[in-house]
Amino acid sequence: MAMQVTRERTSGKGTIYRISGPVVTAQGINSRMYDVVFVGKEQLMGEVIEIQGDKTIVQVYEDTSGVRPGEPVVETGRPLVVELGPGLLTSIYDGIQRPLVVLKDKMGDFITRGVQAPGLDHAKKWDFKPTVKKGDAVQPGTILGEVQETPTIVHRVMVPPDAKPSKVRDIKAGKFTIDEVIGTLDDGTELRMMHKWPVRVPRPNEEKLRPEIPLITGQRILDGLFPVAKGGTAAIPGPFGSGKTVTQQTLAKWSDAEIVVYIGCGERGNEMTEVLTEFPELKDPKTGGPLMNRTVLIANTSNMPVAAREASVYTGITIAEYYRDMGYDVSLMADSTSRWAEAMREISSRLEEMPGEEGYPAYLAAKLAEFYERAGRVKTLSGKFGSVTVIGAVSPPGGDFNEPVTQNTLRIVKVFWALDAKLAQRRHFPSINWLNSYSLYQDSLNDWFAKNVGQEFLDLRAWAMDALQQEAELQDIVQLVGSDSLPAEQQVTLEVTRMLREIFLQQNAFHPIDTFAPLERQLKILRAIKRYEVLSKEALARGVPVRTIGSVKSKSELGKARFEQDFDKAYEVVMSGMEQEFKVMEAA
């Protein structure tokens, strides 16, 4: 036992016994599970993932070509941590919080290896303004002061969650680096703007709260039909080409979270570059500043080391929790969790573990559950309210949802946005299937919607879902006999649902106006379509032929109004036009 204490103080050294891809077996070290070690002459970073007798198995975050048995392995005695402090926002990291900008400076255009790069800039000075004073009692998580991290976001410096309750002995205002001491506690603890936190350990909170506030996304099908709560969990599964990434990026841009953490986990390089070039140029709809000012990007593309891909989702969610603890609403996009699961599978198979379904490790379900469980709306240790909403893309092989990652994810998440390749093929975007998708938050969010948008919104939602359901049944018949053979009333229903699909559900993510639809506008579009139905049915009763009703011009006008800068005005014109058109319709 005494030996172990020594080990933690002075890091031990061992040698490599075996190398098989990213999995390296070391001898002669005694690290704990998930401790970080440095492997080989080039000091490649790795993490202990298994201990067998005198052998310690390490997953290495960098390419291991050229590494030989017998080379040294150095222990650090600490787990994989991220640096938390001002400077996180606007950063672009790889899976283990190395800034890509720094890596480019040190390695050039290609990612080589053996380069250490701290997550935060340790030289930069930040202007710190204390909000506590000498003698104040502080707890773990208590907010000590503020730093203007970006023009739009105030960074709240906290007592690290693993500190002990104490009193402030002294605290200073002024410009400091993240390593400089800004104050001390009575128990001697030195306070800095940065602290480190192990990525695999959830950050503590006071209590988890019921999710009852929606995350407004400005996407009609999401807000209108399948809302997600702040602090909730959602999955977007879909085959390739069905628009997962566009949906994720649209959510990152428009959802009303204050902080966005975007994890590109095992995805395309060019796609990450698109995010990297687009986000700094995009305007934040709330502040007018660049969107990047409230964003942290983590990019571990599919050809970057697989172990770092495994770590990337933990790095991301730890950063998200950190901002939650400051009292912010954070949304975290993970694109794609399937690639993360595959990284687990790859490591597991190198370990020669007994596989579960389709070669995935038996602990896949547990890992997924643990990850999504880190979402939530909480009362923080300092008594503020913050949330982490997790939206995970899933890439099921062959678009078949009946596979382990999708199935295990669906057992945990509360919102399911099912992407549909058929819809994507006819350029119906977002190609979310309205019949298969669901949100289990609907009931708990109803109060909010009734209070903030109106009961009418909820009634229209129920009506729209009902109509779309009817359409699905009618389509079966239409497939057999053609729509002209349906009774007039059902033909009107089909016309109404066509409007719902084309005007309400379809939304152009690339159109400057249509990409974001405020709730008010969503309500009005639904109201207009409902009004069309009412007027059509009245006209039918008067004996107006279906063909005449179907040729109403205001239908397409309503579709175009979505693209108008002054929607409200266009809407008024369309509505009075519609009333007029129906008024003059005559019976056959």
Binding site: Y17, R18, T64, L103, F240, G269, E274, R345, Q425, R427
Partner: protein
Amino acid sequence: MAREYKTISEIAGPLVFVQQTEPVAYGELVTIRLSDGSTKRGQVLDSSKDLVAVQVFEGTSGINRDASVKFLGETLKLGVSKDMLGRILSGAGDPIDGGPEIVPEARLDIIGAAINPYARDNPSEFIQTGISTIDGMNTLVRGQKLPIFSGSGLPHNEIALQVARQAKVRGSGEEFAVVFAAMGITNEEAQFFMRDFERTGALQRAVLFLNLADDPAIERLITPRLALTAAEYLAYEHDYHVLVILTDLTNYCEALRQIGAAREEVPGRRGYPGYMYTDLAMLYERAGKIKGRKGSITQFPILTMPGDDITHPIPDLSGYITEGQIVVSRELHRKGVYPPVNVLPSLSRLMNAGIGVKKDHHGNLRTLTREDHKAVSDQAYAGYAEGRDLRGLVAIVGKEALSERDRKFLEFADMFEDKVVRQGRDEDRSIEQTLDLLWDLLGHLPEEALTRLDRKYIEKYHPKYKAKAAHAPAAVAATR
């Protein structure tokens, strides 16, 4: 200094296990000398103090316990040179055209490091291939990886060659250098490619790596890596815009499965290894552009879908990595349409970045294709999808039962296949020709059905208005 070992303990499939060696590096290159004096090459797949596993590229036939194994102390590298252009090399990178050895200007690791996403440049230059279904509907841009998903017996090779012949970035005057990697294709197919390269003079600006069907399967794992290493050298050191054609990825994946099985790995779906996604990504992700470097790599991989099944692991995993796919359809091929591209399941993810008229950083307008491109393509997609759906209905109720609107859409789908999809093997259409062609067909649809087209585009390009605009001054003149 490298020592030879005669300590082979086990040979299984393409793998040789060697005992009691000096410390051998993971990924190290190996030569094996057989008792008859011939040599084979291999690479270390697993290295420990007691046992080293070597994967032999040329296959293990003829190796016995007497063979000696030499570890070369370096990982697999390719000697690269600008003089590679115009040469034909084997799947292992040795000249097979009777020409001299290539004098390398540099020796590069064939694994290829990942491009730092921060160093990548956004692909945005439109490549005109002259094929309407690609240019108009699934536009290719420089730095993209856009595979052809095909089936056995379909004319994917012809399409790839037509693209290689016709591809250009307009107004730049720059030509593509072509790097061609064949993996397990037949001698006949290889001849077909070589003849075409020679016929069109493209060979002078091409490097060919040929691993044919009767070459060792394991060699297929290195052939595309050699090709991409050569491509990177030409692109990033010599400013070439390189078009890389890889064919056939299906054979590559079979070789990957073979290695996995020989190593007794836990198999993933349909026996393919669980790391196939990562492995394929290491190839596909080598396409791209880098900020501050002139050259670029555009990939045009070909894969044949076993049983035409797009959900098979090979096309499926590819589709998750590549930036879209061009799907070749057996149905259209049977109808005699060339190129038989089914646009509905096809996709180019980078299309939006490369088409239309865009503002650059200075706020100046850059004409990439034409302002109406996206809208026209969306409208044509929607129209063709609707028309094709109606074919099913017609089969049941007959054309007569269709409404006027539906009949127009049905006709649109037929015309689309006949006029837009179908084109000659040497027909090089400009993007304007393609777009005008689409407008001609869209002109047959009822105007109120053109919901995806802005009014201003309809007035400018719709045949009805275009004709009017062209005739109006003449009419005025006549009345005078």
